[in-house]
């Protein structure tokens, strides 16, 4: 006899780094429907942004997310620069790529560690986070802070990377790259890990497109979409190659993230080597004009959109944030339908949920 009941998954759950509730409608062990309930960490950031000065909003935008904070401030600054027609120096663009990619590496290592923890591989979780610590040290040494860097500004960046620091970063990257293959093998070639990931939470290519999936979730389903290919900041000069997988399951998403670690390491190294000399910022005068702009950037989780509308004063008329986790939620619900209850943590972690971004 089939019994139907509802299990609330979250908002407090050992595998969830941030609070989201999933109402799982079950038929025996199978999920027939999943409904999300959000709103636990809503902070009203969009409204606060309208009350603050547009320069103060850089710090606010940086605090939308506690993991990919620099990329949020970079996107905000790029949007305002487009609105005010400010030309950013080339060196600043390279520096932005360096810090954005270090953020991507630490974000991917974080979620891969959490994934290992979700399927009960605690040793691997700690090993991955130990490597992440080196990346955080790079950020601390180059910017003065570990996660909320506070170095992005409208018109450029606030700190430079000296040749000595550049050598230190390259040394650390080499050390990280030496440690990664062992960890990647444990993650991708281990029998029990494969059993937990292959064929779980399959999202076919057409469905990923239909549901508007973004980032590694979309790329693991075979969709070629990565905004870094458009060449914003200095990506156009760094021979960026997108990582795409076809299977669309949790294993493919893990493979995409592991390969992106190597891509990002490569991008940071190239950016440090090819970075031109020159100023790191230009002075910005005046206020954003009464115009609008849609700023887009590739975050570790996917495409991040900021809609910014100015009104000629120092306050913005409207600041709207669309984060990648928000775009990936319909894909998550599709993946959960038909899966077993024991697979829910792994599937939920595999979209790399960032609920604080989503709720702003």
């Amino acid at each position: 006899m089939i019994r139907r009941n509802t299990i609330p998954f979250g908002p407090q759950h050992p595998v969830l780094p941030e609070p989201i509730q999933l109402h799982l409608v079950m038929e025996n062990e199978k999920i027939v429907q999943a409904l999300p309930a959000v709103g636990y960490v809503h902070r009203g950031l969009e409204k606060i942004a309208e009350k603050k000065d547009f320069i103060q909003d850089v710090y606010l935008a940086e605090r939308i997310c506690g993991i990919c904070s620099f990329i949020h401030s970079q996107n905000y600054c790029q949007g305002i620069e487009e609105l005010m027609k400010v030309q950013v120096p080339d060196r600043a663009k390279y520096l932005r790529v360096i810090w954005a990619e270090t953020h991507r590496i630490h974000s991917h290592l974080l979620i891969l560690g959490l994934l290992a923890d979700a399927f009960g591989f605690e040793n691997l979780f700690m090993r991955l986070w130990k490597v992440r610590e080196q990346i955080l040290n790079i950020m601390e040494k180059t910017t003065g802070a570990r996660v909320i860097l506070g170095v992005c500004a409208i018109g450029g960046v606030k700190r430079d990377i000296t040749p000595e620091l550049s050598e230190y970063v390259l040394r650390e990257l080499e050390s990280v790259e030496k440690q990664l293959p062992e960890l990647a093998d444990s993650l991708l070639k281990d029998y029990s890990v494969k059993q937990r990931l292959i064929g779980v939470g399959v999202l076919p290519k057409d469905k990923a497109h239909e549901l508007g999936a973004v980032g590694p979730v979309a790329r693991a389903s075979g969709l070629r979409m990565d905004l870094r290919e458009t060449g914003y900041a200095a990506y156009g000069d760094l021979d960026f190659k997108m990582v795409v997988e076809e299977a669309g399951d949790c294993y493919a998403r893990t493979v995409v993230r592991v390969k992106e670690l190597y891509t990002s390491l490569d991008l940071v190294r190239k950016a440090l080597q090819r970075m031109p000399q020159g100023p790191i910022s230009v002075p910005v005068r005046g206020s954003p004009p009464a115009d609008e702009v849609l700023a887009r950037i590739e975050q570790p989780r996917g495409e991040l959109n900021f809609y910014i509308r100015g009104n000629g004063t120092r306050n913005l008329e409207r600041f709207r944030v669309r984060t990648p986790t928000f775009a990936n939620l319909p894909a998550l619900l599709h993946q959960l339908t038909g899966c077993e209850l024991a697979d829910v943590p792994v599937i939920a972690i595999c979209i790399d949920p960032c609920i604080s971004c989503t709720e702003r």
Partner: protein, 100 residues
Amino acid sequence: MVNLINSIFRKLTSRTECLKYPFEKRELPEGTRGRIDIEIDKCTFCGACEKRCPSNALKVTRDPKSWTLNPYSCIICGYCIEVCPKKCIIAHKEHYSPNV
């Protein structure tokens, strides 16, 4: 899982990764944005820092001459340091001690 077994033997001979805090403290790199402080002798109490502070953590008055920072509101963004015309606001390397 098998390939991580090698790491067990490696770790037996290597040093521990963690510090024995609070007996052993971490060395902070140069340029770390920590505790915000002021060299009050140089301050002209112009209020530029108060006006720009994104989290309204600063309070400056000319009469009586006072400069107050609310450490619970301060987000240590460093904007006050940038805008200070006298360059009298400084960021120490260390953060507030947990027992303060």
